[in-house]
């Protein structure tokens, strides 16, 4: 005992406790390390193809056309002074806002109509109404282009039957703008419909019954029960669609390629034209970056809406 090899009990104890603490920490650490490793592919993907390109875009937008000199904000100034680009800003906003409003209103009406019919029939009607949204947009836009075709237009044939003269659908600025919006509404409405239908179904039936007993009519039920209950979903869907519509490329590119007289160009198609087709990469990058503030603004509110909705669901 006195040879120094044995250690008093109370000296051992803390050492054992420490050892145990370590293994426990190691457990917790291993769990979070595994967690991090499982997320690593996602992190790498986003870092390489989203975050890095985003910063690279800022760098690119500050170079000259040959990418040999740094020009600061010169590209942005140049774009803002150009009449075509002013048209792009106007058309992008017009296109996005008008489309989203129309989609939201028609989608809301459709959702209500669907909600009125018995559940067992909803599936087939929903299937039919979702067809525009199922076909790849680039392909269905081709059909629209063909229907707007100047010499063979199927719409003009119908108009002719009623004695109305041919309409140059894609040949005149404002008509062409209307056409791009029409195609977008046709394509995007079904998405609004299913979102709103899901939201409608989530409103408890008792609320309507309570409102009816309190003496509310149909319109009052809509304003005092349905809309407040759906407010968050409406906001999320509208803002989300605003982002997608604002950044749309397919419709304008295929239908008009920006014409006539650059009147239907949106940011994406214009960036494609100057950046890829004309080879002015920095100017194209600058053009794309103009979308960023508006997207960030909408994204902020979408995120807030989603967080709120999640809290509501949790409550």
């Amino acid at each position: 005992m006195a040879d120094g090899t044995s250690v008093p009990i109370d000296v051992i104890a803390p050492a054992r406790v420490r050892a145990r603490r370590n293994t426990m920490q190691r457990f917790a650490q291993r769990r979070s390390t595994t967690g991090f490793l499982l997320c690593l592919p996602l992190i790498l993907l986003i870092a390489a193809f989203v975050i890095y390109p985003a910063f690279y875009a800022i760098y690119l937008s500050m170079l000259n056309k040959k990418m040999t000199a740094f020009v600061g904000l010169g590209n942005f100034q140049f774009l803002l002074k150009r009449h075509t680009f002013q048209l792009v800003i106007f058309q992008s906003c017009l296109f996005a806002v008008t489309s989203v409003v129309l989609k939201a209103v028609i989608g809301f009406i459709l959702a209500h109509l669907m909600h009125n019919i018995p559940g067992k029939n909803q599936r087939i009607w929903r299937g039919l109404l979702l067809v525009p949204w199922v076909i790849p947009l680039a392909l269905s836009t081709l059909t629209w282009w063909w229907m707007f075709d100047p010499s063979y237009s199927a719409f003009n044939w119908v108009l002719n039957q009623f004695g109305i003269a041919n309409v140059p659908w894609l040949g005149v600025g404002w008509t062409a703008r209307f056409c791009t919006i029409a195609v977008n509404v046709w394509y995007g409405t079904p998405f609004f419909m299913i979102m709103y239908l899901a939201a409608l179904k989530s409103v408890p039936e008792q609320l309507y019954e309570a409102a009816a007993i309190d003496g509310a009519n149909t319109i009052q039920k809509l304003f005092f029960v349905t809309l407040p209950m759906m407010r968050n979903i409406i906001a999320i869907t509208v803002l989300f669609s605003l982002i997608v519509t604002f950044a749309d490329f397919d419709i304008v590119r295929i239908l008009t390629a920006g014409g006539p007289q650059d009147m239907t160009h949106v940011f994406a198609t214009y960036a494609f034209q100057i950046g890829i087709q004309s080879g002015d990469i920095p100017l194209g990058a600058a053009d794309s970056l103009f979308m960023f503030p508006i997207l960030a603004f909408a994204a902020f509110f979408v995120l807030r809406g989603v967080t709120r909705r999640t809290k509501e669901i949790a409550a």
Partner: protein, 298 residues
């Protein structure tokens, strides 16, 4: 006296009941009629695609009678496309790119969603938010810097670049869907599995994935949709027909200068839309449920 009052009351009640019933019937039939109008409007373009695809070039250019009807239906456009090597190539490329995109996206997002919904680590909360924000980044925002980056790694005009880029469009939302589905699995199920002796990967493979199958299906369909229908990236990065996928292939191959072979274009559109239509026809319910999960839970 009292009997007449009672009778009148009953009559009024019956009438009221009748009118209530009648107004309901009106609402129902009104809805059906309005829906029919919308369905007709929505289905005009697909219908016209089908009609045109069944016409010969001669019939299209003849311009006699209604363009909405086909007089001499023929499958020659379809036959032409099926035997056309370029079209076969586009189709094959689309299939390869899509399958790889779906597999890569699903592996990445299922692993990440499992981790984010169950194993908190430093910064995992921020990462979840970041993933959602990435979903809101449209392809048209970054295609120009990506053009440079793809050029630097030598994948311009090579459809493999799409396999690298499409996951950035699919993964964020797939992860988001899967986080939702995984989070709805009761914690006791993991604990039961832990006690039964499962490790984390066994838990994911044997419990989480089978239980969250509806979510997996929804996310897979989303990845498929993104990959099959994307237009901007292939248009910007591919330019020879041996590398092209369907969306750009149809447009650049069948439209030569001013010559529009509309019958063939429409037939190609139909053939290219076939896979999504078939998938949606069978799995629509899962997809809609996945998309609207946030809207219905409340």
């Amino acid at each position: 006296m009292s009997t007449t009052v009672a009778e009148r009351r009953i009559a009024v009640a019956a009438q009221r009941k009748h009118s209530l019933h009648r107004s309901r019937m009106w609402a129902l039939w009104g809805s059906y009629i309005a829906l029919s109008v919308f369905v007709v409007m929505f289905l005009v373009p697909p219908f016209y695609t089908l009609m045109t695809s069944l016409k010969s070039s001669a019939e299209i250019s003849a311009q006699t009678g209604s363009p909405w009807l086909v007089r001499h239906p023929t499958l020659e456009n379809f036959w032409y496309l099926i035997t056309y090597p370029n079209f076969q190539r586009y189709y094959l490329n689309s299939i390869i790119v899509t399958i790889l995109t779906v597999v890569v996206s699903m592996v990445i997002s299922v692993l990440a969603a499992f981790s984010l919904s169950r194993m908190g680590f430093w910064g995992s909360q921020t990462l979840s938010t970041g993933v959602f924000l990435t979903y809101l980044v449209p392809p048209s925002l970054l295609f120009i810097p990506l053009f440079q980056i793809i050029g630097q790694i030598g994948l311009i005009n090579n459809f493999w670049c799409l396999v690298l880029l499409y996951p950035t469009l699919a993964v964020p939302f797939c992860t988001w869907i899967m986080i939702g589905y995984f989070s709805s699995i009761p914690k006791e199920l993991d604990e039961a599995a832990l006690i039964d002796g499962a490790g984390y990967l066994q838990m994911l493979w044997k419990i989480f994935i089978p239980v969250a199958m509806p979510g997996i299906i929804a996310a897979t369909i989303f990845a498929f949709t993104v990959s099959w229908g994307a237009f901007l990236y292939p248009l910007a990065y591919l330019y020879t027909s041996n590398q092209m996928v369907l969306t750009v292939g149809i447009i650049s191959d069948l439209i030569r200068g001013d010559v529009f072979q509309w019958g063939k274009i429409m037939a190609a559109c139909l053939l290219a839309s076939l896979p999504p239509i078939v998938i949606y026809a069978f799995l629509m319910d899962y997809y809609v449920a996945g998309l609207t999960a946030g809207a219905t839970k409340g």
